[in-house]
Symmetry: C2
Subunit: 446 residues, 2 copies
Amino acid sequence: MDYEHMMQRTLIIQTPQAIGQPVRLKGWVHTRRDHGKIIFLDLRDRSGVVQIVVVPSNAVCYAAAKDVCAECVVEIIGTVKERPGGTVNEHLPTGGVEIECTSLSVLARPVDELPVDITKEDMELQLSTLLDHRSLTLRNKKINDIFAVYDCVLRSYAAACRMDGFREIKTPKILAAATEGGANFFKINYFDRSAYLAQSPQFYKQAGVGAFERVFEIGPVFRAEPHFTARHVNEYISLDAEMGFIDGFEDVMIQLEKVLKSITVAVAEQYPLVLEEYGQTLALPEHFPRMKLAEAMDILKKHYGKETDDGDIDAEGEKLICEYVKKEYDSDAVFLTHYPVAVRPMYVMPSPNDPMVTESFDLLYRGVEIATGGQRIHIYDDLVVSIKKHGLSPEDFSGYLAIFKNGMPPHGGWGMGSERVVQKMLGLGNVREAILFPRDVKRLEP
Amino acid sequence: MDYEHMMQRTLIIQTPQAIGQPVRLKGWVHTRRDHGKIIFLDLRDRSGVVQIVVVPSNAVCYAAAKDVCAECVVEIIGTVKERPGGTVNEHLPTGGVEIECTSLSVLARPVDELPVDITKEDMELQLSTLLDHRSLTLRNKKINDIFAVYDCVLRSYAAACRMDGFREIKTPKILAAATEGGANFFKINYFDRSAYLAQSPQFYKQAGVGAFERVFEIGPVFRAEPHFTARHVNEYISLDAEMGFIDGFEDVMIQLEKVLKSITVAVAEQYPLVLEEYGQTLALPEHFPRMKLAEAMDILKKHYGKETDDGDIDAEGEKLICEYVKKEYDSDAVFLTHYPVAVRPMYVMPSPNDPMVTESFDLLYRGVEIATGGQRIHIYDDLVVSIKKHGLSPEDFSGYLAIFKNGMPPHGGWGMGSERVVQKMLGLGNVREAILFPRDVKRLEP
């Protein structure tokens, strides 16, 4: 296999040294244009696009080129030439060269007419059409770039965690019981009994703290919530972390803002052209503003005439608070803190000075909640009390409670939705656009 | 939070500059020993263990120390002193210092008597006991170290893939249909219908090739197989990769051996003491031997008197072949190739010169199959034929077949069991030992 040329194509076509060199390239026919007797092909691979010129004098090659269409997979042999004009496609790194083709063979071709045109800069399709033809629409440059950023988020999240001594763990997604105090679990037939899909790695990452102090996990979580919004799906990749020996939940927020900043810096440094393509700039302050939930509610009432009385704020409220914070503090991110005990799970630490609220937070970023976290209860007896207070039965949590029989340090952590991070960084309208093959109430395919 | 000291503990206690410095440390009481009137505590955190000395002259501190037991979580304030003796525990980096304690506070303590003693070098427990008390037994140094290696495997797998241009993807684990030609799927209640848990990311990573050419994924896979062996579990983390524009499945084997070598080199460089602790050395040749399955069967018959006639070899056969390869070629790894069409899924590429066998392989490592891979069929019509040949219906695979309507390059890849890699690298008797919280037919807890 011609790794050398495959790997270095962009490099080759951008250096003067490449002129006159023979190349063997494989890729997709991005477009074909016939100008008089000359056939121009834009050949696309993961490194970019280069123009292929086929002239009639090479009869065999020309006949082959006559027979290709968009998305044909071809192998080209030719020579790098300086290119007279500029670039055909300003959004792809075509550079100032072209390939004079001496041999062309077709490795595979589309079976039917392509249902959508992926060569457009903006596909401008309905989301459902975009997703129905996902294996094709992912080939569109602008859509493809979302997943370059997604890869960068995964990589930089892991790197930022490891930098501070977090160990990567993988915890089970099949659970014996639908615990955690939530009802939104998918049920599985597990041999001769029932089991449930994990809606978070919460209990297991806490056990991880007992063994490793600091852990992180990147893995799927499953939520059987019948939501039909632009920010909910039923399966997503959660970026979790949990850390021991904290002095309080401020330590968790400091760590999380460090990690999120690190991700945005990595994306800004490595994908400036993608950010430009999406019209985005990423800048976060060293520390994000913190605001008590009660304070946020006052602001919503005072500045936006919006009242909520269930002890939490809704999606519109989160959006408005982000607008307010952007205006007042010039920050894209804000921590809302001290959520009421009543709206938080039983494992969340109550505040020492006000036991009606908790040492917990939501992290809002550009109008949407991207992470939830806080300090957890680490004392066995306190946890038993909290479970009961939440109307639950300690017997149902014996496995979880066992962790706390061994001596657990004060600890806390977060869960962050990877796809929402990418969605908001690129300004995508729907979280589904940041997921290769999203799963929602209605969609299980492709 | 005293990050500085938490992070640098090992460093502090190993440098002469630390002598005389004040420190604030948090950790678990690993052991407590009373020698006459002096109390010695071994304090453990993720960086190691250090000896704490508490003398009666500090009455408050002494009274607190009198009250601690193993696995108490404590905070210590004291001064670093040169230590008269050697090291108490040669397996932990205790170095030549100790802490003269001036303040001790208990942050949490065990609720009951600890069910097992984690301070032993080897726990020597039955596997079921080890797993029943997992959140405690993970604190044992030797067991804990398995997951340092596991973290290293995850990290170095991703790094090796990225180095060669593979993009990390995350694909759905909830599927609409139990396809892929296997029957071993877990069924889920998905709102008003049924769905299934993915037993591999096979179809989706192939779609990934169409968009990104080279992809890798680290994620859980679910197998509803009622196996009761030391090498099977029902949920594990698969290290998948898929690559486009290959000339043949040899390209896939070259890439996989490069990745596996890279992993073993990373572990050997970063965790030499863990390998020593487990009595292991890791060395792999540049290229692993390749052997046709038919040839392997001849060897089994000729050298070991072992016959199999179902076109595949069993666990014992894999072990014997590895012994043979170790003896003959001095390699811990071997590719068995050209498995019969009949024992491979419908997407596997038949060999051009012998359509009864396939362009596929198993990678055996130290006696066990750790990976399966090969070239896939990339031509739509050929795939339809193969689906029918396998007694399946193309209608059931319309979503999968859609990928091949767009022009797919020749491609192939592998799936590798992360836990088996760690198991065999460390010589563990059971794959469950390399999983934090394993899932099998009988075990869903903890």
